[in-house]
């Protein structure tokens, strides 16, 4: 079916539906305030928007610093082909994080106060400054895509000259704010369930960002290969799958050590409201992907590898939602579930992420290897036409 020359597909219809719901909720948010649009209240001042849009958004965008770090700092040249998509995901992730923040902040029009009223003791201040700087760094890392598209050779040379500095700065800033997102929770030990409160939260947030960065790289490469009918570099995916396997083992063992050290290891086996959420998280984070990735057959099979990566992503998303929301249920003596309008804004932000990723891949030389010289814009367009484009994949 086509309407006005646009082919109607399931994903396009879904995209339009999400956008309509999201825009309606945006209208409610900015005309009637936070109370009208969300289920947040004095007991749950932070809800889905902080738990998912901010905490998970930043975590899922970690592929940028993981891959660029491996390629430019450690000279793992084999991963070169996934550098650009990883930077694109990271850049979009951070921009959308800021968009999410504009919804969540009660007084978003004063967000610039961050730059003039600085409280150096605040973890949130550090996160804010790092995110702001890192988004700029990511913009510069992303810039060559646009410059190549328009054949601007001179500025590309400038950016290339400072590229190692940008990458170093990116890793430094990411280390700081990825871990600091965990430090945010350190100040209220009394409110959180011992399953999730640990003085090591910053370390776990940093490590889970690396795991998710790798998993997202597999996820997005597989999806875009499928959507655009490109060949997937299997050896690269296998290699990232191997790295993910190692990182997941490290996190799993550290989590275990942390549980034992804080004497909560036995309580996780006793059935409780929190324990069910914890087990959902642990199974998705560790049991499924570690079992899958231990087989070479899985690591070399793009489809299975994709499923393992997906499980990892869902697992760590559950983990962060647990940290931000579930862990405080007992203290509050109540539960929080996001409202429809609240959820629709989160979905809209996700849908925009897919949409812009799709657009960027279509119009910018994201999957072109920069060693092959100038990009071929015509070729990109041709490909898009051949492939029965989907608006969102």
């Amino acid at each position: 079916m086509t309407i006005m020359n646009i082919k109607v597909t399931f994903w396009r219809v879904l995209f339009v539906a999400i956008m309509i719901a999201g825009l309606y909720s945006t209208y409610v948010r900015y005309l009637h305030g936070l109370g009208a649009v969300s289920n947040m209240n004095d007991q749950y001042p932070w809800g889905l928007w902080i738990g998912f849009d901010c905490l998970c958004g930043v975590m899922l965008a970690a592929g940028g610093f993981c891959v660029t770090g491996a390629v430019y700092i450690f000279h793992v040249e084999r991963l070169h082909s996934v550098c650009r998509p990883a930077i694109l995901t990271a850049f979009l992730g951070y921009v959308l994080f800021i968009v999410g923040l504009l919804f969540d902040l009660g007084r978003p029009w004063f967000i610039w106060h961050q730059m003039i009223y600085m409280n150096f003791h605040s973890v949130m201040f550090e996160v804010g400054m790092c995110v702001m700087t890192y988004t700029t760094v990511l913009f510069l890392e992303f810039l060559p895509n646009v410059l190549e598209r328009f054949n601007l050779a001179a500025p590309i040379r400038w950016v290339k000259k400072i590229y190692p500095v940008l990458v170093c700065l990116g890793i430094l800033l990411s280390t700081l704010h990825q871990s600091s997102l965990g430090s945010l929770f350190l100040i209220f030990p009394e409110k959180m369930s011992p399953f999730w409160y640990t003085p090591a939260l910053p370390f776990f947030f940093f490590l889970s960002a690396i795991a998710c960065g790798l998993a997202m790289t597999i996820f997005e490469s597989t999806l875009s290969a499928r959507a655009f009918g490109r060949g997937l570099e299997r050896s690269v995916m296998t290699e990232i799958g191997g790295a993910l396997y190692v990182v997941l083992w490290i996190i799993a063992l550290l989590r275990l050590q942390d549980f034992v050290h804080r004497h909560v290891f036995t309580t996780i086996f006793k059935g409780s409201y929190e324990a069910y959420f914890l087990w959902t998280e642990l199974i998705l984070c560790f049991v499924i992907p570690l079992t899958m990735l231990s087989f070479k057959k899985v690591r070399t099979n793009p489809h299975l590898l994709y499923l393992a990566a997906l499980s990892t992503i869902l697992g760590f998303v559950t983990n962060r939602l647990n940290v931000a929301i579930t862990s405080m249920d007992r203290w509050n003596g109540s539960h929080y579930l996001p409202s429809f309008t609240e959820t629709s804004i989160t979905l809209m932000i996700c849908a925009l992420g897919f949409f812009f990723f799709n657009m960027a891949v279509r119009f910018l030389p994201i999957f072109e290897d920069e060693h092959h010289g100038a990009p071929h814009a015509e070729q990109t367009l041709e490909l898009a036409e051949v492939q029965q484009p989907t608006l969102v994949h």
Partner: protein, 256 residues
Amino acid sequence: MSKGILYDATMCIGCKQCESACAQQNELPYDDKVAAESVQTDHKFTTVLAKDDKFMRRLCQHCEHPACASVCPVGAFHKTADGPVVYDVWKCIGCRYCMVACAFSQPKYEWGKLNPRVRKCIMCPDRVAQGLATACATACPTGATKFGDHEALIAEAKDRIRNNPENYVDHIYGLNEVGGTSVLMLSSVPFEQFGLPKIQRIGEEALPEYTGRVMDMMPDFIPLWALVLGGVYWVSNRRAEVAEVEAEERALRGGK
């Protein structure tokens, strides 16, 4: 000298004069409906809770080392020399970290407003600066809420427990909780019955210490990590360069 409030629940008759005075002082609506509300909200900074014939007042504890002030990215909260923990609405960006961080869940939010403020008891800073007692202490007919010098109030609270040990649980709430608070409380029944968190739960350590320990590492961590990254880059880059030159030399030698 820093000021404080001593609330003695055994002297409280539950008349809610403090609630009414607080509302008037802060220009908040107050009627029978608001008086009946038992939870603190954006329009009720203090509340007198009743259980049988026992009463308990809830209000901001005005911590010596306030978590709200420590976590605020823009420093909208600060503790004045007089004791009150005050809020600057102009600075606030609305991140609500103060609300999450407060062990006593005191900051409340104007969820229904488009330009919302964080609301909580600010211990009448204008009155305190003029040397006056807070509105609630002035209004209290029995002296259950008493305003005065913090140190003197601590001594008095200790005296009251020593003189009438059978009337009180042997604990001054706020003396050591989260490193001490400007508001002190005495009661004949355990405080947790009225929702005040136990000291075993919130600890005697100032809450900002928990994040402070991590933040203090930053000045050392940043240059060190930058150095390591730069070093790794230099080494791996150099190795690539050497490998390239060696490959060239090998090719040349092979050519000869």
